[in-house]
Symmetry: C2
Subunit: 349 residues, 2 copies
Amino acid sequence: MVQRIAVIPGDGIGIEVTAAARTVLDAVTAGHGIELAYDEFDWSCRRYARDGAMMPADGIEQLRAYDAILLGAVGWPGVPDHVSLWGLLIPIRRAFRQYVNLRPARVFAGVPGPLRAEPGSVDLVVIRENVEGEYSEIGGRLNRGFPDEVAVQESIFTRAGVSRIADYAFELARGRRAYLTSATKSNGIVHTLPFWDEVVASRAERFPDVRWDSEHIDALAAKLVLEPGRFDVIVASNLFGDILSDLAAAVAGSIGIAPSANLDPTRTYPSMFEPVHGSAPDIAGRGVANPVGAVWSAALLLEHLGHPAAAARIVTAIEATLANPASRTRDLHGTADTATVVDALVAAL
Amino acid sequence: MVQRIAVIPGDGIGIEVTAAARTVLDAVTAGHGIELAYDEFDWSCRRYARDGAMMPADGIEQLRAYDAILLGAVGWPGVPDHVSLWGLLIPIRRAFRQYVNLRPARVFAGVPGPLRAEPGSVDLVVIRENVEGEYSEIGGRLNRGFPDEVAVQESIFTRAGVSRIADYAFELARGRRAYLTSATKSNGIVHTLPFWDEVVASRAERFPDVRWDSEHIDALAAKLVLEPGRFDVIVASNLFGDILSDLAAAVAGSIGIAPSANLDPTRTYPSMFEPVHGSAPDIAGRGVANPVGAVWSAALLLEHLGHPAAAARIVTAIEATLANPASRTRDLHGTADTATVVDALVAAL
Ligand SMILES: CC(C)[C@H](C(=O)O)[C@@H](O)C(=O)O
Ligand SMILES: CC(C)[C@H](C(=O)O)[C@@H](O)C(=O)O
């Protein structure tokens, strides 16, 4: 059965790392009898400059028929975020009910991280709520431009939304170290986060085999630095998950290796896979970007499409590649360019 | 001139570290001709258990006449946050318009931090907006207890509020390395944070001698771990400042040494000084708490009351004390108890 992948390289290094991910996918799928068919979409800030929109008006409709979406990165200097992000990335997450943003972070053996902690001591997954919460379009401004101007923004949490993300996180924890941490700030944010806490506690009853606790986001951020090895699965709201997943990636050594999966666990709509890093205009087009975040995201795509063995092979290849200083990019204090890392990955497969 | 200090030791280790701070204050003020008069208030979760409220109904009125407030920590298991925090800490911040929460973080020479970074490479101040923003009491719930329940919370930012915190941060940066970082998330939080960015940019025009930039909170959290030495002054909203200051304290080695000043820069109302750490029920009453956060907060109090030389002496004593492994508490991988640290501080003065 051919599985169809929509590829959106996007902007900057998104183009380079997506090409790298496709090379690695080609190298692994052959041997596993997996057939993927790709269609590439030039939706990006370049397209916006040309046509006045990041994607066509029926962009979401065009994507609907695919089995999965592979995204590079979007954003470019001069293009406002409400265009580049709210005109592509965020509508896809929302239209396809990708309510889970899954973001693993691991310290790979041999990779020099910022912490004194031992390699291998960090292996966690942030499960970020991805369609509601603090990222709401609801709000506005009063007295614009005047001294008494006020800006208001609503955070909106629903019982359905918190329940399903909690369930996903508890399920995942069950298959790992059976330990879940829920990020909160119910001591300061007194309406939505006490509600989050209540709903997580009520879902926890269905998972008596999973140990769980709740940590305020400020203390949790500190603990991720001081004792990252403690954590297994962390469930967090849209904003807190955004912060914690970048932080966890940094603790693990580099944002350049961090992958993410925007999942619709009901499989009604296509899920989307993208590295956590952005388009990195400062190094774009120079062939030096770290492709590991995109390649690892491609592994998550394979897993989602029902090919866990092929996915695991990619992760093993990443381990072997990162263990060798000669195949690490500059963000990992190496000197390798993108092509060198891709060659090493393919050789390791 | 006698300056009057309201002391609220609060709960748990708050009591121990406040006593330590008073001992150090006594040791330093004598030699500088500073006269402080203290009144102690037992406002705490113990008081709540006894009288049904953290502080008396006229608590704010009682504090109004003081020159400053020294707080230990509030909170105790079993007492809900809306009682312990919203019944004491947060009303004081708000009633006295303490709109600046100033939180320095430094890596002290010799102190083993979590990062491989060199000691002395981190020396920054987080300036946190302290009375508006994400910590708003406005919001509520619909369909309570039903499957379609929704919780809503408003974030409210005012031009006046953002302007004054930006001005404070730019002024402070001017007296330091003239470099300011503004924390934002205007790419995801599309009403309040673009407004924050605009107001900060407009205030920046008054400080052409200060270099500044804006970083999204996710990337900023990562950079605080990967290159903390880059930062000098960071200005942030109430929630982001809360997260970043705990994170910066962790990067500097321990929450136990982090101080904070809740300031009304107009000096209309008393300002409040408190360590960043909480009441730590797990180690309370055992005499092992790190008193440095409270002692450093007392130094900030002296500075605010017009005694910079005495304040600087305390900071020098902290440096000397932390440089000696024998006078470090457990959170800093030492074995000293609170009394040993206090003795070392007093000896160093
Ligand atoms: C206890 C809590 C409400 C408080 C805050 O978030 O303001 C604390 O974390 C702090 O940083 O002072
Ligand atoms: C670009 C931005 C809107 C986005 C987010 O915050 O969701 C990004 O930081 C991410 O984590 O995918």
